[in-house]
């Protein structure tokens, strides 16, 4: 019997269909590179492209550098030392992730501008009139500041988990060999954490390249804003696809660099047993410094913007009708929950396929879907709109038959937005599910089948209950990301369908910063709760 044909079953067919659907937008971009160039493209290439590349890379480079410095130092402090407020800070330092950078950007702009709390206090209380340009953050350094504050948790989170779980014996050996804390940090901690640092930083880099909210609000020209402007401003879809392809080229280049950096020197461990790193108690000045350092970062990256948002909510209470806010909240939660559920179901199908089918393509194919996460939202939007309009044309006779007058049904529905979310965020859910499958291995599944239980029943009775943690984490991560998402939602939402994020963005863009605060605070609140659930309950240190 053919070994490969024996792998063809419901899981295989389902998984391949899902992978093809997820991969279509990548193909449409690649083919876009070869389409004939318009006049606009010649102009963009001649005068603008270098600027886009320069500003995008400047943002990426400095944000990556600062997030590593802050993320790694915090991870090391929390993983290795005990000091006042440490157990609170351990998870509180992740909370800045709940503030989407565009909300952070307009909140900080509100804090430091002429009518903001800082300049007002200086003027009214101390009679100092500072040079307003000193407080101007709507520029490239300002954007780097914002990205660093709200994205450093990626580096912190991944590196801290690695250090607390995996490094005990190495660090203890270094200590018994008479090495001091700085030497251990430089010669042991940094080299062994390299893989997790690079893992965290690549997420930061992808987020920066994908961001539309901050750069649009600050008026900085990057690839994301250029794609939007070329598409909507110039009405030139082909050129915007070419821009997107260039951006994808940069992303693939960065991913290759990441592979090379991680490649040769992957440190692996002879044991899979997890032993937590015992904490060293800090005393005196060191303890004060550690507490102050973590407290300052937590304050500027979370506490200050949240307090400012709360203040604005109180000031504008009643200005935005409560009913309206409830509608946005309901829309946001419905669309995020529905998309996250579908992503998890699809991830389970693809993940199980990759696990049960013994063929190299079964391991390789799912990796292709991760590219979706590197494509900016604006580009996925173009691809999805094009596909759905074609689908509507194809289905026109069916619409006519069932008595629908309009020729556009799917392309004006929520279904289109949900499809785009699935393409964009599949990688997040899939990573979680894949690591869940890796963790449980194949013995339990084999044991169940040896007890006479079918594949499908094994999946529901053994795999799903054992993967509960991975399923919940995947769902929470995707849910939070969709809640904060901006470009896809702005372009693909049905007419008059607003979510918390689009409403907050619109208010802020119209310089109604205070009115944007209610929706923003709700996003931050829901995301913060989700993050606390995720990290406090599911990712605790090993007992």
């Amino acid at each position: 019997m053919n070994r490969y044909l024996a792998n063809v079953n419901g899981w295989t067919i389902g998984a391949i269909l899902i992978i093809i659907l997820l991969f279509i937008p990548n193909v449409s971009i690649v083919t876009g590179i070869f389409s004939s160039a318009s006049e606009n493209w010649a102009h963009i290439k001649e005068y603008m492209l270098v600027n886009y590349i320069k500003s995008s890379l400047t943002l990426v480079f400095f944000t990556a550098m600062f997030t590593v410095v802050i993320g790694l130092s915090l991870a090391w402090l929390i993983a290795q030392y005990d000091f006042p407020l440490r157990s609170f800070m351990k998870w509180a330092l992740i909370l800045p992730l709940s503030i989407p950078p565009f909300i952070g950007a307009y909140t900080y702009h509100g804090i430091v501008n002429y009518t903001g709390v800082i300049q007002k206090t200086l003027r009214n209380q101390f009679e100092i009139v500072p040079n307003p340009s000193f407080f101007d953050i709507m520029n490239v350094p300002g954007a780097i500041f914002i990205y660093t504050l709200f994205l450093y948790p990626y580096v912190y989170m991944i590196t801290r988990i690695f250090l607390s779980h995996q490094s005990a014996s190495l660090i203890e050996s270094a200590r018994t060999l008479g090495k001091g804390p700085w030497e251990i940090f430089l010669k042991v901690v940094i080299p062994i954490s390299r893989v997790s640092i690079i893992g965290g930083v690549s997420l930061v880099v992808l987020e920066v390249l994908n961001d539309y909210g901050v750069v649009k609000y600050f008026g900085i020209q990057t690839f994301s804003t250029a794609i939007f402007q070329t598409w909507f401003g110039l009405g030139d879809l082909d050129s915007s696809i070419k821009l997107a392809a260039s951006l994808m080229g940069i992303v693939i280049f960065i991913l290759i660099i990441e592979r090379i950096l991680r490649g040769g020197k992957q440190y692996s461990y002879s044991t899979t047993k997890v032993r937590p790193l015992p904490l060293v108690k800090l005393k005196g000045k060191s303890a004060v410094f550690a507490t102050m350092y973590t407290l300052v970062i937590f304050s500027i990256a979370f506490l200050v913007p949240v307090i400012q948002l709360m203040d604005w909510v109180i000031l504008t209470f009643g200005k935005v009708p409560m009913g309206e806010v409830l509608v946005y909240t309901r829309n946001s939660v419905t669309v995020a929950a529905l998309s996250a559920t579908l992503i998890i179901v699809f991830s389970l199908i693809v993940g199980n396929f990759s696990r049960i089918v013994h063929h190299k393509f079964a391991k390789l194919l799912p990796k292709l879907t991760i590219l979706g996460y590197s494509i900016p939202g604006a580009v996925i939007a173009v691809a999805v709109v094009t596909t759905f309009i074609a689908l509507d044309r194809f289905l026109a006779p069916v619409y006519e038959f069932i008595g629908i007058d309009s020729g556009l049904v799917l392309s004006v529905s929520l279904f289109m937005l949900i499809s785009a979310y699935i393409i964009r965020f599949f990688a997040i859910g899939y990573n979680s599910i894949e690591s869940g499958f890796d963790k449980i291995g194949t013995d339990f599944r084999d044991a169940s089948r040896m007890l006479g239980v079918s594949r499908l029943r094994t999946f529901f009775k053994i795999d799903v209950p054992m993967m509960k943690g991975a399923i919940i984490s995947g769902f929470v991560l995707v849910f939070v990301d969709i809640l904060k998402e901006i470009p896809l939602t702005l372009i693909l939402r049905p007419f008059n369908y607003d979510t918390l994020a689009t409403k907050a963005f619109q208010y802020a863009s119209d310089e109604k910063i205070m009115e944007a605060s209610q929706a923003s605070l709700l996003i931050v609140g829901v995301s913060a709760i989700a993050i606390i659930i995720f990290h406090k309950l599911l990712r605790e240190e090993p007992k």
């Binding site: 024996a6 013995d443 084999d446 044991a447 007890l451 239980v453």
Partner: protein, 245 residues
């Protein structure tokens, strides 16, 4: 004969050499067979091929007159009526002892299921442990639950993958005796894989020595390994140490 395996071969997809190379042997009903070999010799792969967890390149396998696999047939593991005890036991952590055993008993009335659970727990001397979860059991107890779970559906053949490797040396001797008693009492045909020469000697009616994916020798323990008195009296004597004996 009860089990007939002919010309069984298997290659892993990431390898060019055969992990199992043209292996043939037969087993009588009620017989306990040990597959003995160094790590990487292909002994666990043979077990997985018999279980149906891997698909062979070629070969045939007949169990009690029923064709399980050949060029045209491949019966899925869940339809083979073969039980298996895994090296790390693979007890479902979200189910208690009773639920673990019940999991394999689908086509029975509730009363019969309950009776069968009690029977097998009595056989492995774990009455009263029904409501315990795997993490609340010792290594030896977990191993006996895994055995009870595999025996409960009354399989025609039971496979054991390194059944003692996760146990302390003292416990290994005790459990080994228990296992032989349980297998013989239940009149179960069994194939178990080990790298420990003492396990093979104490448990098996016949031994298959495997080297580089091929059968090196087949025979009774006393013929292949000498008498028990010639073996060092330790819990952990591994194949590599005694191979030249």
């Amino acid at each position: 004969m009860f089990i007939d395996i002919q010309d069984l071969s298997f290659t892993y997809s990431n390898s060019l050499t055969k992990a199992v190379n043209c292996i043939s042997f037969t087993i009588e009903k009620g017989e306990v067979i040990s597959i003995l070999g160094r790590s990487g010799s292909g002994k666990s792969t043979i077990l997985r091929l018999i279980a149906g967890l891997e698909m062979p390149d070629e070969g045939s396998f007949t169990l009690n007159g029923k064709k399980i696999m050949d060029d045209r047939t491949f019966i899925q593991p869940e339809k083979r009526g073969i039980g298996m005890v895994f090296q790390d036991y693979a007890l479902f952590p979200h189910m208690n002892v009773e639920e673990n055993i019940l999991f394999g008993l689908s086509k029975m009335s509730r009363k019969d299921k309950k009776r069968r659970v009690n029977e097998v727990l009595e056989l492995v001397e774990l009455e009263g442990f029904e409501k315990r979860y795997p993490h609340q059991l010792s290594g030896g107890q977990q191993q006996r639950v895994a055995l009870a779970r595999a025996i409960a559906p009354e399989p025609e053949l039971i496979l054991l993958d390194e059944p003692f490797s996760n146990l302390d040396a003292d416990l290994q001797v005790k459990i080994r005796e228990d296992l032989r008693r349980i297998l013989k009492k239940a009149n179960t045909t069994a194939v178990f894989v080990t790298h420990n020469i003492n396990d093979a000697h104490a448990l098996a009616d016949r031994i298959l020595k495997i080297k580089d994916g091929k059968i090196d020798k087949i025979g009774r323990p006393c013929d292949l390994l000498g008498s028990t008195s010639e073996l060092p009296n330790t819990g952990e004597v591994i194949f590599e140490e005694l191979l030249p004996v």
